[in-house]
């Protein structure tokens, strides 16, 4: 036990991302529960008087019960039901809207967070949070106010005995077994490059007091992040939904809205019938969210990245791939179509750059700007320890392309990209699991006693 430096104290690790919340016990190799961060909510009482931002008033129902946690408090004025979990937003409910509290990796809306955490800990994990120390993750560009708020929620509402908040970049480096690394994290909504030295994030550059201000691209900061995955998504969606010479625009109806369909040949107009009874109660936000899911699924099963730069001929030789949408429409997608999607991670066409000045930076530029903000001496160390992680990096051919791009600019580049998809998807959680099960780590926990004694500033002092 002492030989490996591990000492498990049944700590919990909570990793909140844009697409999913991962939670499990420290010392495990995969999270015990993965639930979507997106939640559905229905307002059953006086829906007309309550605008869409009703849950911002602070009177949010705690999600309880199984079956997606559909429950609610009985308030005199309004009743907001939250639908959380795998059966939460993905089940069709009349009038259900969906929302995501996390934008660009950081929590923008704290109202549903207690409900989400409660669901994750009490419903999914079935444990009592007051018995377990908890380690929470945060992206490198999180604000001090945000982390303090998180500490407050866990101490005050969940009564945890001890709390710690750690950076996903650092944790990803730890998961790869490195103390110093350049972590390239391709998430669901944000791609980030974080230089980590000796377990600390390099934050130099922006001139702000402690953290860089939140912007899509921090040109001067060592930790560069951009909404690149969103651009990739938008590109794919645009490509699918605009009619072209080869095919008409593809309808992205989710399967919940389809009554029945008939099998059709590839490229032929689909024969399906919508559920008229549901169309009425379907909200725009839910439809948007589900269509986005359809696009994501198409990307995940069809799209790819060429490993040696854009080349139409090479893309064509990759061949066609078949995909069928919930409407029954199916077609073969050519190599060019499939690979132009992934290409958005690395290069943008001149027309796109001209039309959109605030375009997110492609990955190689992010890495260069991040490296340029670092000291000359550690650049070589970082280049030799590039850790590729995040579910977005599972794009077919991503690691090869990154290697090719980087070796064009720098010498001695070494990329660590775990072959196991779980290790990439849950890299941040895994690092947290390792960290919170170390015997030497237990002196770093912020205990409830310390929280009560010092208050909010203790978070910034302890979690450097």
């Amino acid at each position: 036990m002492v030989n490996y430096g591990g000492d498990e104290v049944a700590a919990l690790v909570l990793d909140i991302g844009t697409s999913s919340i991962r939670v499990g016990y420290a010392g495990d190799d995969t999270p015990k529960a993965i639930i979507p961060t997106t939640y559905g909510y229905t307002e059953t009482d006086e829906p007309s008087s309550e605008p869409a931002n009703a849950n911002a008033d602070g009177d949010v129902a705690m999600a309880e019960g199984e079956e997606g946690g559909a429950a609610g408090t009985q308030s005199a004025k309004k009743k907001v039901k939250l639908h959380i979990g795998s059966n939460g937003p993905s089940l069709w409910r009349a009038g259900m809207k969906v929302n995501n509290p996390v934008q660009n990796g950081i929590i923008q809306d704290f109202e549903p967070i207690p409900s989400l955490i409660s669901y994750a800990l009490e419903q999914a994990l079935r444990c009592n949070p007051s018995e377990h120390p908890i380690l929470v993750t945060e992206p490198a560009w999180n604000t001090p106010a945000n982390r303090e708020r998180m500490a407050e929620i866990l101490f005050e509402e969940f009564n945890v005995p001890a709390f710690y908040i750690s950076n996903t970049g650092v944790l990803n480096a730890f998961a790869a077994g490195k103390g110093s690394a350049l972590v390239v994290d391709i998430g669901h909504s944000a791609a980030s490059v974080t230089p980590v030295v000796d377990g600390f994030v390099m934050r130099r550059g922006t001139g702000s007091l402690t953290y860089p201000c939140i912007s899509l691209v921090d040109t001067f900061s060592g930790l560069a992040h951009s909404a690149l995955p969103q651009l990739v998504h938008a590109h794919a969606r645009h490509m699918l939904t605009t009619p072209s010479s080869r095919r008409p625009a593809i309808q992205l109806y989710p399967h919940q809205l389809i009554a029945h369909k008939q099998p059709v040949d590839a490229g032929v107009a689909p024969k399906f019938e919508l559920r008229k009874d549901r169309l009425e109660g379907t909200t725009d936000s839910w439809k948007q969210w589900y269509e986005a899911k359809e696009v994501d699924e198409w990307i995940q099963s069809v799209a790819g990245i060429l490993d040696q730069g854009w080349n139409e001929h090479a893309a064509n030789t990759r061949g066609m791939r078949h995909y069928e949408f919930p409407t029954g429409y199916n077609n073969y997608f050519s190599g060019i179509e499939r690979h132009s999607v992934g290409e958005q991670f690395f290069t943008h066409s001149p027309q796109l750059i001209a039309s959109n000045p605030n375009l997110p930076k492609p990955i190689p530029n992010l890495i260069s700007s991040s490296l340029n903000a670092c000291d000359m001496e550690i650049r070589q160390v970082l280049l030799g320890n590039i850790v590729l992680t995040g579910g977005g990096s599972l794009f077919a051919g991503f690691a090869d392309r990154l290697q090719a791009e980087l070796s064009r600019i720098h010498s001695h580049v070494k990329i660590h990209a775990p072959g196991n998809p779980a290790e990439r998807r849950f890299g941040g959680w895994l690092g947290g699991s390792i960290l919170a099960s170390l015997g030497t780590f237990h002196q770093l926990w912020i205990s409830k006693e310390e929280w009560q004694e010092h208050g909010r500033p203790i978070v910034g002092q302890r979690c450097k």
Binding site: M376, E449, K464
Partner: protein, 503 residues
């Protein structure tokens, strides 16, 4: 009783039993009783091969199987969920973990000992005003710097990353480090020091920081990184060019060696030429410079003889420092019983074939010349020494064996020469004798001493036949008589020689 052995004969004749064979004598057949005592742990086949001289390395005890690990005495271990107090924490947080039942819950937490605090320096206002004043730094900023260094355990990259002193100027990493180190040095120097001087000097040297040097170094790194692709390509090309030149130079050197060897033979002293590695390594920069100077000169090959640098590369005399070194190390060798064997200077010092790998002395035992092997072995056998098997091949023994073999082969050679000379003498003597007899035969006197007489008669008869044909055949007759003489016995040859001398 056909099988009466030598031992039986000896016992009958009441002779002392045969002396035990010496270590270098050919081993006698071990008897059956000896063979019967086969120790355990050796297979019969192996034992019959190696005999009773069992190497000490062979395991004589019967090998046993690996013991099964003893996992905690076989009993069940009871674990319990126990809360503990971490000594590295300042608060009273109690976390719980699984421990073996019966562990003292108040025992010190095993990981608390890793909470090592680095030495942090603090200084008073008085100390600051006395030694630490600096026009670029205020006391507040210095305090802030020391606070950060303590907080981040002297990780200056992080300190520099988090350094944010309100109202202070922009500080580089070197500024921060220089300030920190200089303050610490001054504090160490001016404070009373409890330990010894050496420790103090060591501490001071660990706090040494040369800012200018670091800045220059960083500049170099930056310039290295900001090379354009053209520069990189040029560098690559230069490197290849350099390799080519080195290869050329090596080839020229080889050619020159060849030439010298052909022209001067052994007097060229070539075997003593050492390849001066340093010369080859030090050559690159100046070659590079030369290359940078005139690109067009690439085609012009430089013969090492002509160029000035050739003398650096090739030294005709064995290098002097090597000898000095050997003289110095002689005492060391004597002290540690190290014997350096003279490696014969190879003709081509750099080739692989000339390399002599490590070998066991007993593998390189001197062997007599192939021609005389049998005779030498026979001579040694007469002495009761086996030339092929040396039980204790120490250096002295090997040397002795070698000299013995040399002497033995010299003896055999001498014997051969003696035999040959004796033979010649005999032959000549015989011839002399024949000559006398010829003349005697012409005189009509018959001389018949023993068996030789019969031969002489035969010759005489033959002669008479021949002589009728021609007189000029006297020479051929003589030749034939010489031929017949070669079969003659030993004693006549001796007299023949005597007669020839008189002749």
């Amino acid at each position: 009783m056909a099988g009466a052995s030598a031992a039986d004969v000896r016992s009958i004749l009441s002779l002392p039993s045969a002396p035990t064979p010496g270590p270098s004598q050919p081993r006698k057949q071990s008897n059956a009783a000896e063979r019967a005592r086969k120790p355990d742990g050796i297979s019969r086949e192996l034992y019959s091969l190696i005999g009773p001289s069992v190497p000490t390395l062979a395991q004589l005890a019967k090998p046993r199987l690996k013991q099964k690990p003893n996992l905690g005495g076989g009993g069940r271990v009871k674990w319990e969920w126990q809360s503990f107090k971490n000594g590295a924490r300042s608060d009273s947080l109690r976390l719980s973990h699984w421990t073996k039942a019966g562990t003292d819950p108040d025992a010190e937490y095993p990981f608390a000992k890793y909470n090592v605090q680095p030495t942090s320096y603090v200084f008073s206002q008085d100390e600051y005003t006395r030694f630490l004043e600096d026009k670029d730094w205020t006391k507040e900023e210095t305090d802030y710097l020391f606070e950060l260094v303590r907080e981040y355990d002297s990780r200056f990259y992080i300190v520099h990353d988090r350094y944010e002193f309100p109202g202070g100027p922009q500080r580089s990493l070197e500024d921060l480090r220089d300030r920190y180190c200089s303050v610490c040095r001054k504090l160490v120097r001016n404070r009373p020091w409890a330990g010894d001087e050496a420790a103090k000097m060591q501490l001071l040297s660990s706090l040494q920081f040369d800012k200018d040097r670091e800045v220059t170094r960083k500049k170099y790194i930056a310039s290295l990184e900001s090379r354009t692709p053209q520069q990189k390509a040029e560098e690559e090309a230069l490197f290849i060019e350099l390799k080519r030149l080195e290869q050329n130079e090596r080839r020229f050197k080889k050619d020159r060696d060849e030439l010298l060897r052909t022209l001067l033979g052994i007097e060229s002293g070539l075997p003593d030429i050492q390849v001066d590695e340093d010369g080859l390594v030090s050559a690159p920069p100046d070659t590079k410079k030369r290359k940078r100077g005139h690109h067009s000169a690439t085609a012009e090959p430089e013969t090492p003889v002509a160029s000035g640098s050739a003398t650096q590369i090739i030294s005709l005399v064995p290098s002097a420092p090597k000898k000095a070194q050997s003289a110095k190390s002689a005492a060391y060798d004597a002290l540690h019983c190290i014997h350096r064997s003279e490696v014969p200077p190879a003709a081509a010092p750099t080739t692989k074939a000339a390399h002599q790998p490590v070998y066991l002395r007993s593998y390189k035992l001197p062997t007599p010349k192939v021609a005389s092997t049998a005779k030498v072995a026979q001579a040694l056998g007469e002495l009761g020494i086996s030339s092929t098997r040396l039980v204790m091949p120490t250096r002295e023994n090997c040397a002795q064996l070698e000299s013995l073999l040399e002497t033995a082969s010299a003896l055999v050679e001498t014997k051969k020469v003696v035999d040959k000379v004796e033979h010649d003498i005999r032959v000549l003597k015989e011839r002399m004798g024949m000559g006398e007899r010829d003349s005697e035969a012409e005189d009509g006197e018959a001389q018949t001493p023993g068996d030789e007489g019969a031969e002489g008669e035969m010759e005489g008869r033959a002669q008479s036949v021949v002589s009728t044909r021609s007189t000029r055949s006297v020479r051929s007759r003589k030749q034939s008589s010489r031929r017949s003489m070669s079969i003659s016995s030993v004693d006549t040859s001796a007299t023949g020689a005597m007669k020839r001398k008189r002749y």
